[in-house]
Amino acid sequence: MIALWLLVKAQRRAHLVARDTPLGIGGARRLGWIGFSLVLFSMCTAGFVVDSPRATAVYLPGLGAALAFAAAVHLRLRGRAVVPRPESFVELVSMRFARHRLARGASLVLAAMIEVALWGGVIEWALGVSHRAPDVDRIYLGPTWPFLLGTDEVGHDVFTRLLFGGQISLAVGLVSALSAAAVGTVVGLTAGYFGGWWDTVAMRFVDAMLSIPVLPLMIVFSALSLDKLAPPPVVWWTVLLGAFGWGLFSLLWSSRRRRPGPRPPGGMAGFALLYASVVFGVVGYAVDWSAVVGGGLGSVVKIILIIVLFGWMTVARLARAAALTLRNMEFVTAARALGAGHGQILLQHILPGALAPVIVAATLEVGAYILYEAALSYLGLGVQPPVPSWGNMLNNGLEYIRTAHAHLAFWPGLLILVTVVCFNFFGDGLRDALDPHQVMKRTS
């Protein structure tokens, strides 16, 4: 409900931007924050697919935190709105984005789809149907009340199954795009900034990965079983505690010694280690992995890992290119002269400059990742039933394509098409807005 309200506000903002009225605040930034909170919210809802008290104990506060975060961002932005900042970058970007009508429409459709998918549980409860419980008395029903799109071969309600499948498919696309962008940014920025052997190794690797067909490799990886590859819990805990200790140590160390000369591992890296170990520890404890695997979400985690493994290369290249141009800029030299560490320079001076192409690439990749998920699930290697995803629903409906029940395969495919088209339009609009060079090329 709150998300819906935020959505309406955001769309109203977008509308304002569309009419080119002077804005106080960046509609695009707000859209971004709302999108982020929606992603969090979506993941939390996906977490509810697992009926585990331990998971719920973490997800519920997580949900609350996400909503509070979204609300805080909203209020903060509204508070800022008092100060008009004409011709700011954000305003420019939002105006440019709003000019791309298809992208605006696509963002609306996407937001609506995410919203409706998130309401899947409520809709299911209201209709009194089930997307997971087989019902042998009600198989192959046509569209009737309350089965809006009929039922499939074991009596699942197709409509709510599409909603829950949408949650999974969208979550896979968004989470893998975010993670791949994160990995790619880290690798690309460090490679471009530090250069040397790391740059050579990383970029040769990226070249190699980009020049081989990915889908067969993905098939090989998805045929591997995760539990065989995963080390025992002792290893995990050792790594986590080690990372925590090392992060703490380097943080304290670097905060004590502020002298010229060779510097110990920077505070930024220590903080990142500390943060990552805490987050991984909490998540690792909170999620009851056996329940996850039993509930079928193991395959979702696995497919995200696989997509990230093969997806970070494009972003890495873009980030490296940005870092290469930015690292010799005067402001970077100035920052270094003022005593800033590598971590600070990377985070404060180089990352912002590299962010625009990374965001655009990540948005465009979401569609591709949804397609990868669908492809793997279609081959029977992706998300495993009973957890629904559009891909495995398609795989299911495949058998009935020659019969009177061809619609079972039609709907998930159509939704995939619409979603991917919308993400591509959205990314295209973002590119127009964020990358003026591209715009000039396109419209001149």
């Binding site: 298809l102 040769r204 070249d207 190699a208 980009l210 020049s211 081989i212 067909p213 990915v214 889908l215 067969p216 490799l217 098939i219 090989v220 990886f221 045929a223 591997l224 079983s225 065989k228 590859l229 569609g367 397609l371 669908a374 492809a375 279609y378 081959l379 398609l394 495949l398 394509i401 020659r402 019969t403 009177a404 061809a406 395969a409 039609f410 998930p412 495919g413 995939i416 098409l417 991917v420 088209v421 993400f423 591509n424 339009f425 295209d428 090329k441 396109r442 419209t443 001149s444």
Partner: protein
């Protein structure tokens, strides 16, 4: 000089990537659950754990993966892989009174043949003859509905019809005096009632050979004292016969059930020779005497009915096998009461080498040794043959496509030459036959190319003119529509789109066949084969081309938009050249340069899309082979196919760069 150096660097990089990739893949694949030996073993519950260990040792599977990798790449001294003797596999029997029919389709089915219930419509008509079956064959949906739900009899008939069609591809050779009629039904004739074992040999068009044995239950003759009510309807009889059959062909407890059905003497008579004997010195030795003396009366002699090797009086069958593949051995043993006991077994053997033979690894395949590619466990064929196409099947008595005669005689000089061509026919006929045969028996690589190249050309045919026109008339209605469709094309999920196209164009309108690559058992010349293949190609190539066209349309349009405001275009216009010349000769030529690169660079994506399309349309190409090989733990095939596609992609990139330099004089001058 610099160009040569950069070329060498590129080639070196490609080689390094390929080596690294193959090593990583090898490690990954060997980490996958289920190795080839374990997959073999699941088919046979009688194999003991020590057999498994021995087989693993023989195949080198007990070594760590890096040693296996080096062996795979370089080769090793072959540790004399002995042949394996397989027990015979029962092939399902359809029992009844009178003729006994054998369902051989399931046993040796060509994997590329699609078992398609839908095709049953015409086959039902053919098999049963008009008026025999109460089916409206013009209503396929009705047939399907009936077949699937309403009448189990129709369902079975449809299935049998489909299989009967597949039999057209199979060649069944009866052993031990059984007779088969045209439709491969064993004729029992005056065989007494009871259970009989019938042996036969099945060979498909791929040359895959299998020995089948069937338990034929021949019902007792009609007894007049039964009233018609007691005898029941024909359908009930069929069902009761069916239940006996089900009991007999139970997969696991087969022998026990036979024992239940027959007395002790009969059990001896039916006992197949099913010991697994693997000789260590490259020869297979089966002690026939020991087999029979345990169960029946003493034996006086043996006769080899079919197969190589010799049978000694001591009760031992012995042979050294050479040449890859599977050999079926069948013989007759005679006891002192004059009774004859047929025995048979299949020997699965690779090439049996010299003691010092060096089995060449993958590296030697690069030097042209096609045998170094290895042997596919899944398809039981050499990998080179799988990829490059099967050779003609001469002398099997069936005039296949690509043969102008075949009289089951392997000798030259009686009309057919060694290449299966009638020497009296003209040269053109021979050329036609050879081409038709090559195309009909094309390997996976050619199949994929025959799908990808039409798709590529078709999509360029869409994309380039539309991109040019869209750029020249920017913001026109055409531009908007084309751009929108291009976005849709990029976002298409190929598998779904293929399915929908199949549902509409082949299920609804019957314009094109629904999947597959060619009609099985086709007869005719090269033109017929091409026409047949074309009808199968239209749908998948169309689907793929629509998916590709989107991206290329956008690239073409973008490149044109970049070129059109350039100074030289303005100059060309100022010279007074017609607009058409300006666009075509000045703008398009320059805009095409980056597009060529992009087309070459998107070959990886093309391969990915081709995998899904091949899967949807059951197109036996490289992508599907790769998928099946990975899923079926056929490691060598998986790696080889992977390396082939990766090498193709990288060489494509190299060519793209070369073409780029050739097309763009500016680059040539600067380098």
């Amino acid at each position: 000089m610099a160009a040569l150096r950069s070329l060498l660097t590129r080639l070196f990089t490609i080689a390094a990537i390929l080596v690294g990739l193959s090593a990583v893949l090898f490690g990954l694949l060997s980490a996958m659950p289920g190795d080839p030996v374990e997959m073999l073993i699941t088919a046979n519950p009688r194999v003991k754990p020590e057999d498994v260990a021995r087989l693993k040792r023989l195949r080198g599977l007990d070594q760590p993966w890096y040693i296996r990798y080096v062996r795979w790449a370089w080769g090793y001294h072959q540790p004399q892989q002995p042949p394996e003797v397989h027990p015979l596999k029962d092939i399902v029997v359809v029992a009844g009174d009178g003729p006994v029919s054998f369902d051989v389709a399931g046993a040796v089915a060509d994997r590329d043949v699609r078992l398609d219930l839908f095709e049953a419509r015409s086959v039902v008509e053919q098999a049963a003859g008009p008026g025999q079956v109460d089916l409206d064959v013009d209503e396929p949906d009705a047939l399907l509905e009936q077949a699937q739900r309403a009448h189990p009899a129709v369902w079975r008939l449809a299935h049998e019809a489909v299989r009967a069609k597949m039999w057209g591809q199979l060649r069944v050779e009866p052993l031990f005096g059984a007779e088969f009629d045209e439709r491969l039904v064993g004729v029992a004739g005056d065989v007494p009632a009871g259970i009989h074992r019938v042996w036969f040999l099945v060979r498909d068009t791929g040359g895959l050979e299998g020995l089948g044995q069937g338990l034929a239950y021949v019902a007792p003759p009609f007894e007049p004292e039964l009233t018609p009510e007691e005898a029941g309807t024909d359908e009930e009889q069929r069902q009761s016969a069916g239940s006996t059959e089900a009991a007999l062909v139970d997969e696991r407890g087969r022998t026990a059930l036979i024992a239940d059905a027959t007395d002790a003497g009969q059990r001896a008579r039916f006992a197949p020779l099913d010991v697994v004997v693997a000789a260590e010195d490259g020869a297979v030795t089966v002690d026939v005497l020991a087999q029979f003396s345990a169960a029946g009366p003493s034996l006086t002699g043996f006769r080899l009915v079919r197969g190589p090797g010799t049978i000694t009086a001591g009760g031992v069958y012995r042979h050294r096998f050479a040449g890859p593949g599977q050999t079926v051995v069948a013989g007759l043993a005679t006891d002192d009461e004059g009774g004859e006991h047929p025995f048979a077994f299949a020997v699965d053997h690779g090439p049996v080498p010299d003691p010092d033979r060096f089995e060449r690894g993958f590296v030697f395949a690069l030097l042209g040794d096609s045998e170094a590619l290895g042997f596919s466990n899944l398809y039981k064929r050499p990998v080179a043959e799988l990829l490059g196409g099967s050779p003609d099947r001469c002398g099997d008595g069936v005039q296949d496509i690509g043969e102008s005669c075949d009289d089951a005689n392997r000798k030259d000089g009686d009309g057919c030459s060694a290449t299966c061509h009638d020497e009296s026919a003209g040269m053109w006929q021979a050329v036609d036959d050879v081409l038709a045969g090559k195309l009909y028996r094309a390997g996976r690589v050619l199949n994929t190319l025959l799908l990808m190249i039409p798709a590529l050309l078709l999509s360029l045919l869409f994309a380039i003119p539309a991109g040019i026109y869209g750029a020249v008339r920017q913001y026109s209605a055409f531009d908007y529509v084309a751009s929108f469709l291009a976005f849709v094309g990029i976002s298409l999920f190929v598998a779904w789109f293929g399915l929908m196209a199949m549902a509409v164009f082949s299920e609804q309108f019957h314009w094109f066949p629904a999947g597959g690559i060619q009609t099985p058992g086709l007869r005719g010349g090269f033109v017929d084969v091409v026409a047949d293949r074309l009808s199968y190609t239209v749908l998948p190539a169309g689907v793929l081309s629509i998916a590709y066209a989107g991206a290329w349309l956008r690239y073409m349009r973008g490149a044109m938009l970049e070129v059109l405001p350039a100074d030289y275009i303005r100059t060309a216009r100022a010279k007074g050249l017609p607009e058409r010349t300006v666009v075509v000769r000045h703008a398009v030529r320059n805009a095409l340069i980056p597009v060529v690169t992009v087309v070459a660079l998107s070959v990886p994506r093309l391969f990915g899309g081709a995998l899904l399309t091949e899967q949807v349309f059951s197109w036996p190409g490289i992508g599907r082979l790769q998928f099946e090989a990975v899923m079926g733990s056929d490691y060598y095939v998986a790696i080889v196919v992977f390396l082939i596609s990766a090498a193709l992609v990288m060489v494509g990139n190299l060519l793209a760069d070369a073409v780029y330099v050739l097309l763009d004089p500016r680059l040539r001058r600067s380098s």
